[in-house]
């Protein structure tokens, strides 16, 4: 891992944010400060040095002319003294020469073209007493030399520039050493480590390799820490994996339980609803009719509760899939209005529809849109005692591919307090627990609407004034679709059509529940169809092999041979390749439907069976083109 090829030169790692760059920056800054100090000190000390150099030089000059000066002073010879002075002035270091013999000035020569600053000159002046050439102790005069400040400056500048040069070289050297050291001991191992870390798969047991020679350095410590972290990570991952397995098992158990519950409730429900329908068809007195209505309403309510619970659990489990079929918003809204027209009228509440500019066909899940909208509208009707409920649809955004629709339901009802509003869209919450007693409902409707809106790429919400009314809205992003095909003609009387075209045809109904068989038999006999029944898949296959059936209704969960296997076997029988086989099950999950269709079934009916659904599916399949 750490031995992976490095195509990038380590020098390339000197980015403007890198350690090397920063270190060099700091080194440079420190060095510049130090250099300024050093140059300042040099400037000061070099002044001293320049003075010393000049003094030494002047002394040497004086040594060479000393005996001549002695002579000149001894005899008081102006010419000789002047000659000596001029000789001294021929040296650039000398600015002025004064030779005195006792009190009298023998010579006072001054460099032409040089400017003399009195203070500066006298401070650096060099005076030498002149002894008699013949009497050693006798002082007979003196020579005073004033050094040339220009030369002093020159020496100083040379010194300073030398110091600066030295510092520059030192800086370059130190920088190179620092950069090299940093790259060697720091940047390279770290960048190697980072690269290795990038490619490391800790779950596969991979760990960072210890960089050579870094076992006891901070980098080695870092590597150990990273490896330690990787160990911890791996054990944490293992733990979470285990926890996930447990959670998934629990989730599967919950789903299975829900499916089971749904199945177990739907089976007796089928009996209740089916029998009520049969009773109604047999002819009842008006009083009995009212009893049957109540029975129906109660069954409907119970069913809607089951469906809500099932929907919510599917949405929350992420198992909810939306259909994508073309539909018309107008007919959707009209349908919703039609469903609630009766209850609204009964309460004296007017139901208004404002369908703005929305028209044309969209692609989406009309069943779920209708469900979401129905939740709002039925709530609005429920909580409004007088006034109106307005259903408003508008377009928020529109492009060539899609449109975002806003559905709004405004009522003049009791309103909702802000505190209650906060909890409104949460599952299993109602504005007040007393609501449940007065108005009924599962408290899941709004939660489902919001989840559905979210699934459709929108959102849901509400605003309200207590005592004035509430407005509930949701948005949905829908694809635009081509024009709808011919809509099923609702005006066709399915039962009459079945009697007219298919009377006397033989139908097989397969179910292990005798009540279900009985209901199906009665319903189908009602439209003059001949019905055979089988209690399990094996018997169904046997019957199908002896007789010819126009259609087969097949339960899914049965002893001996279940619906799926029975269908697969029947399809193998001669003449049954295209025979309509309709699943008839209390299993309401989407995956059940998928499984049925995959096994070769043509359609899927959910228990409890309503005669209108049953007849519609049967008629459609029997009238299929090509049959």
């Amino acid at each position: 891992m750490a031995t992976r090829k490095f195509s990038i030169s380590p020098l390339m790692h000197i980015s403007t944010q890198g350690i090397v760059f920063r270190s060099v920056l700091i080194t440079l800054a420190a060095f510049i400060v130090a250099s300024l100090g050093a140059i300042g000190f040099t400037a000061y000390s070099t002044g001293e040095r320049a003075n010393l150099v000049i003094e030494t030089r002047l002394n040497q000059l004086l040594d060479t002319v000393q005996s001549t000066v002695k002579t000149a002073c001894f005899v008081g010879d102006h010419d000789l003294a002047r000659e000596v002075a001029q000789g001294l002035l021929s040296n650039s270091e000398v600015l002025q020469v004064t030779i005195m013999a006792g009190e009298s000035i023998l010579a006072d020569e001054f460099r032409r073209g040089a400017s003399l600053h009195a203070g500066q000159a006298s401070s650096a002046a060099l005076t030498r007493k002149i002894n008699s050439p013949f009497v050693t102790d006798q002082i007979i005069g003196e020579v005073r030399l004033i050094p040339n400040p220009e030369v002093i400056d020159h020496i100083r500048q040379a010194d300073i520039s030398l110091a600066a040069k030295q510092l520059t070289w030192q800086l370059a050297l130190v920088s190179i050493v620092i950069i090299t050291a940093l790259i060697l001991f720091f940047v390279r191992p770290i960048s190697r480590m980072s690269l290795a870390l990038h490619k490391m798969d800790p779950t596969a047991g991979e760990r960072l390799e210890m960089p050579q020679g870094h076992a006891r350095t901070e980098i080695g410590l870092l590597v150990s820490s990273v490896n330690q972290l990787a160990d911890n990570l791996v054990s944490a991952i293992d733990a979470s994996r285990e926890a996930r397995t447990v959670a998934e098992t629990a989730s599967r158990a919950k789903s299975a339980f829900l499916a089971n519950m749904s199945h177990e409730i739907r089976t007796p429900m089928n009996g209740i609803v089916g029998m009520a329908n049969i009773l109604r068809r047999l002819g009842v007195s008006p009083e009995q009719e009212r009893c049957l209505d109540t029975l129906d309403t109660s069954a409907q309510h119970l069913l809607s509760v089951i469906n809500d619970v099932l929907d919510l659990s599917k949405i929350e489990a992420g198992k909810f899939t939306l259909e994508e079929i073309p539909f018309s918003v107008e007919s959707l809204v009209a349908h919703v209005a039609a469903i609630l027209a009766e209850p609204a009228k009964a309460k004296g509440v007017s139901l208004l529809v404002e369908l703005g500019e929305v028209h044309g066909n969209l692609v989406g899940d009309p069943t779920r849109l209708q469900q979401a909208l129905l939740n709002y509208v039925s709530n609005a009707v429920k909580f409004t005692e007088a006034g109106s409920v307005t259903l408003r649809i508008s377009i928020l955004e529109e492009s060539t591919e899609s449109a975002t629709l806003r559905f709004e339901v405004e009522d003049s009802g009791i309103g909702i307090t802000p505190e209650a509003m906060a909890r409104l869209f949460c599952a299993f919450e109602q504005a007040d627990n007393s609501m449940t007693r007065k108005y009924g409902g599962t408290g899941l409707g709004l939660a489902i609407t919001r989840r559905l809106a979210e699934l459709m790429g929108g959102d849901a919400g509400a605003f309200s004034t207590v005592g004035v009314g509430s407005t509930f809205w949701f948005t949905a992003k829908l694809k635009k679709g081509e024009a709808l095909g011919v809509e099923p003609d609702a005006s066709v009387d399915v039962e009459a059509e079945l009697r007219k075209c298919h009377a006397g045809r033989r139908i097989l109904v397969v179910d292990d529940e005798p009540i279900n068989l009985e209901i199906a038999r009665m319903q189908l006999a009602d439209v003059d169809l001949l019905v055979d029944t089988a209690e399990n898949g094996a018997k169904a296959v046997a019957l199908a092999s002896c007789n010819s059936y126009a259609a087969i209704f097949m339960d899914m969960q049965m002893p001996e041979l279940n619906g799926i296997e029975a269908t697969q076997q029947i399809r193998q029988l001669p003449g049954y390749r295209d025979t309509p086989i309709i699943a008839m099950t209390a299993n309401a999950f989407a995956e059940d439907k998928v499984q049925c269709l995959a096994a070769g079934m043509n359609d899927f009916l959910t228990k409890p069976l309503y005669p209108e659904n049953l007849f519609a599916v049967l008629l459609r399949l029997l009238n299929r083109p090509g049959r």
Partner: protein, 144 residues
């Protein structure tokens, strides 16, 4: 005289051993009638090396050197200023071109020195002590 010369030669030998090039006892003399009683060593230096050529009496001093060849001149400057002849020559060479100060007159013989001292009012010369007679006055002698 042989006795004396023998003594002298012994003395000279001793002097040679003790003083190196000390060969003779040099004295500075002036005309006995000049009125100058004594001259200090410094005064003699000033007169012979050109610094100040006036006698205490106010008369301009006229110094004269012994011939170059003899040892006396070297002896004199050695005693007077502790200088070699070469140093003295170099000294005068420096002053030669400015021309202001001249070296003492150069005698060709010891007798010419004596004649110069006696013949000029400011004449100052040096002799071996033995050559100094009554006509001249010893104004400075160098103690051994």
């Amino acid at each position: 005289m042989t006795e004396l010369s023998r003594h002298l030669s012994i003395l000279g030998l001793l002097a040679l051993l003790c003083w190196g090039d000390v060969l003779a006892d040099v004295v500075v003399v002036v005309d006995a009638k000049s009125g100058v009683e004594r001259l200090s060593q410094e005064e003699v230096i000033n007169i012979f090396l050109g610094r100040y050529r006036k006698l205490p009496t106010g008369i301009t001093a006229l110094p004269i050197d012994q011939p170059q060849a003899g040892g006396l001149r070297a002896e004199f400057y050695r005693k007077l200023a502790d200088k070699d002849v070469s140093e003295i020559n170099a000294y005068w060479a420096r002053l030669y071109f400015s021309g202001k100060t001249r070296p003492p007159l150069q005698a060709n013989s010891a007798s010419e020195v004596l004649a110069h001292v006696l013949g000029n009012p400011g004449g100052v010369g040096y002799l071996e002590r033995s050559q100094a007679d009554a006509r001249v006055r010893i104004v400075l002698s160098f103690s051994p």
